[in-house]
Amino acid sequence: MNRRPEVELEVERYEARARPLHLFDLDRRGFMRSIGGGIAVMLAAQTAAKAASLAAQESGATFRRENVPHAISAWLHIAPDGTIKVFTGKAEVGQNIRTSLTQTVADELHVGLETVTLVMGDTKLTPFDLGTFGSRTTPQMGTELRRAAAAARGVLIGLAAKQWKMDAGGLEAVDGKVEDRAGNRSLRYAELAHGQLLAEMIPAAEAMTPAVDWTLAGKAARKVNGRDFVTGKHRYTPDLKLPGMLYGKVVRPSAFGATLTSVDLSAAQAMPGVHAMRDGDFIGVAALDELTAERAAAAVKAEWKTTPQISNAELFDYLKTHAETSAREQAQAASEQGAVAAALAAAAHRVEATYTVEYIAHCPLEPRAALATWENGAVTAWTGSQRPFGVQQELMQAFRLGEDRVRVIVPDTGSAYGGKHTGECAVEAARIARSAGKPVHLLWTREEEFTWAYFRPAGVIDVKAGISADGTLTAWEMHNYNSGGAALDTMYDVAHKLVEFHPVQSPLRQGSYRSLAAAANHFARESAMDELAHAMGSMEGMDPLAFRMKNLKHARLRGAYQAAAEKFGWQGRKKAPGHGFGIAGGIEKGGHIATCAEVAVDRAQGTVRIVRVVQAFDCGAVVNPDGLRNTISGAITQGIGGALYEAIEFADGRILNPRFSQYRVPRFRDEPEVEVVLLDRKDEPSFGAGETPIVGLAPAVGNAIFDAIGVRIRTLPMLPGGKLPAGA
């Protein structure tokens, strides 16, 4: 089970179901004139057969509408001045894909990075894209842009060959030029693109440069627009301003699911320059400045009817008792391999344990923000989002507009982690803006972000497993309630196996979070594997690494384990008093990960400090090693929060800890020594790294805590309130 199907939309992407139609209905010559000439290469985003049929229509004057929606996944344009613009619907949210995709295109076209500009996340200019999630950008968009760039290079070489009346075979693209080495002559791309009106639609397969021959890609590259970020010049959504713009505020319900019973807007409306409006249960205000908007919102008298709702205390019982039985689940149940119950009964040692994970919040440092403006019944919204086309769809639905009347633009955004797939803030800003007749700027407060965004699903995970006397894994059964199906299956070899995901109608609004349920499922699985290793007789049991390797054939994961263990010094490890060592690993989204952790536990104080983390990662051929290291070590840091501290506390439809002073995210003092081992596999396709590097930390730390004090913690976070649970 080393690779998941390429475009499967995981079940827990609850927020990302809808796929809009995308129209790209352009007459080709008119289109080329409209962009000022040059060379455009469009990449067919379809199966090979459909792409080929599109290519066969090359002679036609127009793209046929029925074929074109979804047909283009990206395009690039070489302007008559030789500059290259690449158009992709992906969004930059701090993962530095603006840089890595620029590298990819520049590499394939043999130009400097400064020649290439990416236009990203703009529903008017860029082709439809489902969203920036699932670690898809590098394997999917990176590959597609490389194809488009390879095709563009082919076009340029073809143009030079035509001009020189020679065979293209003798020509090469070098340093922004096509060269005829034998004839000692060259033509710059600008010279070749000048006066052209050329639009190429290319099929999916195009010869690309193999990773071993990359020149720009595969090496560290500086953030392409880095200077704008250290000078404060970059405009994130909350920094944008339009003439005549008002500042908006939403009057929030008193609890989740509350209904509005009465509202009095008169006091707010009486304030100078204030616009106050109500539509259904939605109440919004806008004013000339932020402070007045805040005051106006406070002046609205609203009464809400609330219903009793569950709290943290009942959460896990609720999840276990409210599982939905779906066709999907039954299909999964039917997928039992071997005879698990019999194998469990026959096992020499058994482990039966329940693991839980709480709801957690993404806490992007840039809260949700939007700027919306209406003109002639059409709306344009700037917003920080991972799904520009998803937000467009939400606006279309909210205001019953056609696609041509909604434009969404995503400026490079202050992080997301799976938490910005939805467009509620843009819809709210647009609603107030339409009512006010002026552009409206809306910036959620941190409390709003903690309360009205969505959470990583909470979950209960039951594991039953058995091993033979020699440590061979013989039976494995794992049930995940609510948290999700990502990385549910075990990568270890086992003859009798049953894994199931049981969806639940979640009490809180939930959705994607970095790695989805892979973090929770790895926590449960890798903790249980540790428990099995220790179940072999004495307290010491079998070495946790040796036990894993004994039951693992997967070569790349074995490689990751070996690399991490070697760097960490696993074999010769020696414990200081109160210290412990733990290891965990897994496979998800094409990434192979192994994590070793050392912790120091102070039992008297109830505290745990993570001392050192070594993480090995293999995601195929590395595109930008610096960027990849940053992403991996950043994921480890973020993982510390979910592993040790983070939990949303809630009761009666309210969030009880909606502040950074009450909800502890990792800070400087939590940072361990981190070492990242990159396994650069130039012989393997490149996979993304946005998610998988977060999955190893929690189980490695939990296993290390057990190693230190002999207490198994089966809950995330492991230190609620900053301390070991009572009795540990």
Partner: protein, 211 residues
Amino acid sequence: MSEREEPGAGAGASPANALTRRKFILGVIAGGAVVSAAGYRLLAPRAPLRVAGGERLLTLNINGKQRRVEVAKNERLAWTLRYKLGLTGTKLGCDRGECGACTVLLDDVPHYSCSVLTQTVRGRKVQTVEGLAAPDGTLHPVQQGVMDEQGFQCAFCMSGFLMATVGYLKTNPNPTRTELAHGISGNLCRCQDYNKILDALMKGAENMRRA
């Protein structure tokens, strides 16, 4: 109060769609203004501000310049900087002094500008991230340290980290890693490994000592 849908707003896809898009592309791409949101008309001159009562006209010293601005009694500095003076490099990441993204220097000392009343900075020297680089565009040594080490991801926290570090280095120009980490520990980052941030800011400190 409740508004109804605008007439004609419910139209679905129509042949006019393509035209709209084409016209748009004609206008924007040919004009070469597509690159980022910064290229749009968002930077058009600010409309004259008509503010509600209770305002006072103050003169503030911001990044070495005298700036006159109407300020409400309980207006906080981050809002004045961002929304009235256009200095949006100062970020808002939380509601009250918990993330450090809005850090600025007041007479060389780091402050959370979200928690400072604008009135109280009269007669004081306010420095924001926009005031770090030299007028000729040469980056401040600490900014250069971040560029040298590439210590950023989404970088929403970066302005705050830069200001906190520049302020801290004024009291301790040659800190150990632990000292600097402690000095800027009031700032949050959500993307990155704090070690990497520290690498960049320590490089900035080194750049400063060499400058």
